[in-house]
């Protein structure tokens, strides 16, 4: 009985003209989006490699560590092909300097505003918008359509348990829609393999999980269609109700939640934060300048009344000590500035995290948001991508600052030694460097932040659980509603 009903459901879907149309649209959209995504990924990899090489070349050609100002680049992630997330919105590079903070800049969208306006269509987008709509198109009349056509009455003139019928409706619709959809998805995966996208084992696992979450999200909409269809008598009514629900879940709630969170938790703007940091930095530099002038006045006071030779000796004898004092004072000030920046950034980050949590909590009322969050978490293109990279870049900056301080101190020492020798008729050089380029092989290397499968899955678990719960609730609702459904 169950198998007969499932088979009938499968046949009904596969033989319907709308199936051919939707299957063709889905196949074209999925394959096209992945193809374009692969090309974009490859272009960004080429750009990344060229920019990295140019930056390394600039470092290698520098003749003094004072002239070295490296840049680090965010390496494109193959998972961005399937779920771009915030990948195109955040910057691709940051200057690494002891003077300025790490800041990702030059995002794809800032370079190409046309794409920022219309965005890219990726696999997750197709699932979130197109497939969810198709699921509704196939299930809005699953129950009431049969009532309207009279086949429900004829079916129930036989000894068909209602539970079996509604379960077969779900299984049939699910199999009839999911299995054909897996074909273009698998073709897309094959396309990625053929086009040589360098996917690691972890990335394949993430992709498999992403497909699994997509199927779960699609299942929710199949269930929702079944639920509304078994709560209404007319298919026109269920279609309209489902369309309104779809618009709310997919288009309104995610955006409204973000807007509401923005109103509930205020976060200072980037300009405000930058100006706060700038003010502190300027204050400290001014104070440092004053202290230094004061110190020089005091130092010079010690040389008052001395002959020119005694004065020079006095200066030579104290130069290193004074330089050390100045250096210590400057380092102390820089530490203060860095600490202030850290505190301000941390406060900003905490506020942002708070706002983000409120937005996510509200947005998760919609399975579409839960899916989007899970998809971007799994792809590693979620909202924490920027923080993940900036943290790694800050860690690199710390290592780089320590390295460069040593190198520059060494250069200064050499320069001073040379300067002493020059006074006895030797050549004078400025800037501390020589003619030969610096040995960049000693420079610390930037380590890309790595995201394991477990760390990508962990933040997705809540969304997976929610999607599962929404789906089960819809099925339970459809089951109960159908037990009381008037089949006449």
């Amino acid at each position: 009985m169950f198998a007969t009903l499932v088979e009938k459901e499968l046949k009904s879907i596969l033989l319907s003209p709308k199936f051919v149309a939707t299957f063709a649209v889905c196949t074209v959209l999925i394959l096209l989006s992945v193809f374009v995504g692969i090309r974009e990924y490859k272009a960004s990899i080429a750009e990344y490699e060229t920019a990295s090489q140019l930056s390394e070349q600039a470092v290698r050609s520098a003749t003094s560590w004072w002239g070295v100002s490296p840049r680090v680049f965010r390496k494109p992630n193959p998972m961005q092909i399937f779920s771009a997330g915030v990948n195109n919105d955040i910057g691709r590079l940051s200057d690494i300097s002891t003077w300025t903070d790490v800041k990702l800049r030059q995002s794809s969208y800032s370079d190409n505003t046309l794409f920022a306006l219309f965005r890219f269509i990726d696999f997750a987008f197709i699932v979130q918008l197109v497939l969810s709509l198709f699921a509704i198109l196939f299930t809005y009349d699953a129950i009431n359509g049969e009532r309207e056509s009279g086949t429900l009455k004829l079916s129930f003139s036989n000894a068909v348990p209602r539970g079996t019928f509604v379960l077969s409706k779900f299984v049939g619709a699910w199999l009839g829609l999911t299995i054909p959809l897996l074909i273009p998805i698998l073709l897309a995966v094959l396309l990625a393999m053929v086009m040589g996208v360098p996917m690691t084992g972890v990335e394949w696992s993430k992709l498999a999980m992403l497909i699994g979450v997509s199927v779960l999200y699609f299942t929710f909409f199949v269930m929702l269609g079944l639920l509304v269809s078994s709560l209404t008598k007319r298919s026109a009514t269920s279609f309209l109700v489902l369309l309104v629900i779809w618009v709310c879940l997919v288009l309104i709630i995610p955006r409204a939640a973000t807007m509401a969170a923005g109103q509930l938790v205020e976060v200072p703007s980037v300009a405000e934060v930058e100006s706060q940091k700038d003010r502190f930095r300027t204050d400290r530099w001014d104070a440092f300048g004053k202290r230094r002038s004061e110190a020089w006045r005091e130092r010079m006071a010690g040389a008052e009344g001395m002959s020119q030779d005694d004065r020079r000796d006095f200066m030579d004898n104290n130069r290193e000590k004074w330089a050390q004092e100045d250096d210590e004072s400057r380092q102390l000030m820089e530490q203060e500035i860095a600490e202030n920046s850290r505190v301000v950034d941390e406060e900003l980050r905490n506020r942002k995290a708070e706002q983000e949590q409120v937005a996510f909590r509200l947005a998760r009322m919609s399975p579409a948001s839960a899916y989007q969050l899970a998809a971007t978490n799994l792809a590693g293109t979620n909202t924490s991508l920027k923080a993940r990279y900036e943290d790694a870049m800050k860690a690199y900056r710390t290592a780089y600052a320590a390295f460069i301080a040593d190198k520059r101190a060494e250069e200064q020492r050499k320069a001073r030694e040379e300067s002493s020798r020059n006074r006895s008729g030797m050549r004078i050089t400025f800037g501390g460097g020589g003619d030969s380029p610096v040995d960049s092989s000693e420079m610390p290397r930037f380590e890309e932040p790595d995201q394991s499968f477990a760390s990508a899955l962990e933040p997705s678990l809540a969304d997976l659980g929610l999607l599962g719960a929404f789906t089960v609730l819809c099925f339970a609702g459809a089951f109960i509603a159908f037990l009381r459904y008037d089949v006449r």
Partner: protein, 253 residues
């Protein structure tokens, strides 16, 4: 107005009453029985309660009072067991439009618990109900109402249930098809089926039924055997009963 059936009653309405939630009394203490090898024709205007009676036998609705029984099984107590003994043809047979006639037959036969039929068996039944062979493999969406009706009758035959419920079965059939259908009913009666048929067609009811019941405003106002009606003008009887009953109702009011 109880009738003695010559053999075992397969379809029984016992004080069958249905009052809807809005207070409307759709069926008022109706009693009748249809024995194996018998055709019972329910006549009556629109809203007389004919379809409500059939819906109660199919347990699409539950009775407010009394019970409908199929081979002794109370339909609202054990609907699944009762439905195993019932086949049904609706007034306007609607099947799956994207399936062929054979595919529709196969699905509903299996749903009725018959998995032992071959394609040839389906073709034979379709030919028996008068559906031409060229239409067997065609999708239902191009079928006329009469062709769909024939498929519906074929589905009922395939189920091979002891009792058959027919709700306006000749509606939409051309005169030739309706005539052939009556012949088909006769042969099903010969196979020992108990047939309950609701119809507006007085003449065909007189031709084929063993017993004729006239329903009006949820009540079974007349119930007579074919022998009792012999020599009488059924149309006149029908009009008289309907009018007389209405007069009585008016007097009561």
């Amino acid at each position: 107005m109880e009738l003695q059936s010559p053999s075992r009653a397969l379809l029984e309405a016992d004080n069958l009453t249905k009052r809807y939630e809005d207070g409307q009394l759709a069926l008022d203490h109706v009693n009748f029985a249809v024995a194996a090898g018998e055709i019972y024709a329910m006549l009556g205007g629109n809203g007389a309660g004919k379809t409500t009676t059939i819906n109660l036998f199919l347990n699409f609705i539950e009775p407010t009072e009394g019970e409908a029984r199929v081979d002794g099984i109370v339909t609202h107590r054990d609907p699944l067991a009762a439905k195993k003994k019932l086949a049904y043809v609706s007034e306007n047979v609607m099947l799956y439009p994207n399936f062929t006639a054979l595919q529709n037959l196969d699905f509903f036969a299996r749903l009725g618990g018959r998995t032992d039929y071959s394609k040839d068996a389906y073709r034979d039944v379709l030919l028996r109900v008068g559906l031409q062979e060229e239409a067997h493999g065609r999708r239902l969406k191009g079928f006329s109402k009469g062709m769909r009706q024939k498929c519906g009758i074929a589905i009922a035959i395939l189920k091979d249930a002891p009792a058959i419920l027919l709700d306006e079965p000749t509606s939409g059939l051309d005169p030739k098809a309706a005539y052939e259908f009556i012949g088909l009913l006769d042969s099903l009666r010969g196979e020992g089926k108990a047939i309950l048929m609701s119809t507006h067609d007085i003449f065909r009811a007189r031709d084929v039924a063993n017993t004729i019941g006239i329903m009006n405003q949820g009540k079974l106002v007349m119930q007579r055997s074919k022998q009792d009606l012999a020599g009488e003008d059924l149309e006149k009887v029908y009009v008289e009963y309907m009018a007389g009953y209405m007069d009585r109702e008016t007097e009561t009011v």
